[in-house]
Symmetry: C2
Subunit: 214 residues, 2 copies
């Protein structure tokens, strides 16, 4: 349809999880050039007849074995020169998972797959460090206008656990009273009984999300 040279189009996927009290990102070690042996986000070329989201889901499954229901588009990176092979435009998706419910494993295209600190990842291929920063920024913005945490928390959780998710993402303390007022006002939580706090006589309320949990 166009007489002009066309860029290549890829998808890259930023999968976040929270464990060991840190925000983690899932990376693969590249098994081929360019940047062979470097860590990178899972991703690859969009096929001519698949939607962008389908491509993201497929590449993630192929490279890490993960199947994520909810992937959200974050941003498209297209600076000329970001890929040494030639002009490449990458549409970036983000997904959140509970790490203990998934077991990523390297598949065909990637040599190794592992979790790293999202704030201090190793040296990365392409502009993937910038992409991760952008995805963190988007996640932080999202906290301001909606409830984030559904995919990151266990089925039943305390408000203290929920608050800690926000603190880990924002990398700063969150005021307990304001947080509870805001979260409860959004009407997305239902109370689910009380449980003894380990090593104490106190009991803490547990909550779950109103939506059916995956």
């Amino acid at each position: 349809m166009s007489r002009y040279p066309k860029p290549s189009v890829t998808v890259d996927i930023v999968v976040f999880s929270i464990f060991d009290d840190h925000l983690k990102v899932l990376l693969i070690k590249r098994g081929r050039p360019p940047f062979e042996g470097r860590w990178a986000l899972p991703g690859g070329f969009v096929e001519i007849d698949e939607s962008l989201e389908t491509a993201a889901r497929r590449e993630l499954a192929e490279e890490t074995g993960l199947r994520i229901t909810t992937l959200e588009q974050v941003h498209t990176f297209g600076d000329p020169g970001r890929d040494p092979r030639g002009r490449t435009i990458s549409v970036v998706y983000c997904g959140l998972v509970q790490a203990d419910q998934v077991s990523p494993k390297a598949a065909s295209d990637a040599a190794t797959v592992s979790w790293f600190s999202a704030f201090r990842p190793p040296a990365l291929a392409f502009d993937h460090q910038q992409i991760i920063r952008c995805a963190i920024e988007r996640l932080r913005q999202k906290l301001e206008w909606t409830t984030v945490g559904y995919e990151l928390l266990p089925r039943r959780f305390t408000l203290a656990q929920f608050q800690r998710v926000y603190e880990i993402i924002l990398q700063k303390p969150v005021d307990k009273r304001r947080f509870r007022r805001k979260i409860l006002a959004q009407g997305e939580l239902v109370e689910g009984g009380r449980a003894r706090v380990p090593g104490s006589n106190r009991a803490t309320k547990h909550y779950s999300f109103r939506r059916p949990h995956a």
Copy 2:
């Protein structure tokens, strides 16, 4: 770099303004197929050596004569079948302008250029109706976590004018007290004297943004 068929990559630009008490969007009448004679967003193909944002700025200027400093990427649309010419992925940018400070005019590629209601545009080419809805949704989300209005308000404005901008975008009434408290708490406004309310003896405070206004 790739043996596989590549999609084409375009940019489309959603320019919003507020006047006549409505949210308006800038459209061009297409001067050539496909969808010749239909209204559409300004946009076109990304050149192989220009960044996505540069392409958006260039296409907007070529098709409407508008030069906008701040364009923000909104979303990338890539469903197979969205362009009858073949697989086309469009990266969408959004800009805000004061309509009385610009005078868009049709240039080379477009037959006519005009403002329309963003909520009730005419029949549009491609998936541009869906793109406009997505840009409105993003604008609404943005109101939740930052101050929107800098580009839409005159240099000096009243809080009532500012509130009206929010109401027009959200399409619902905004609580005056909560709005004022929230806006003033963000610390981005400076007071700029008082002006007589036309047809009354009252005087109203005027404000301007702390940043240098373009």
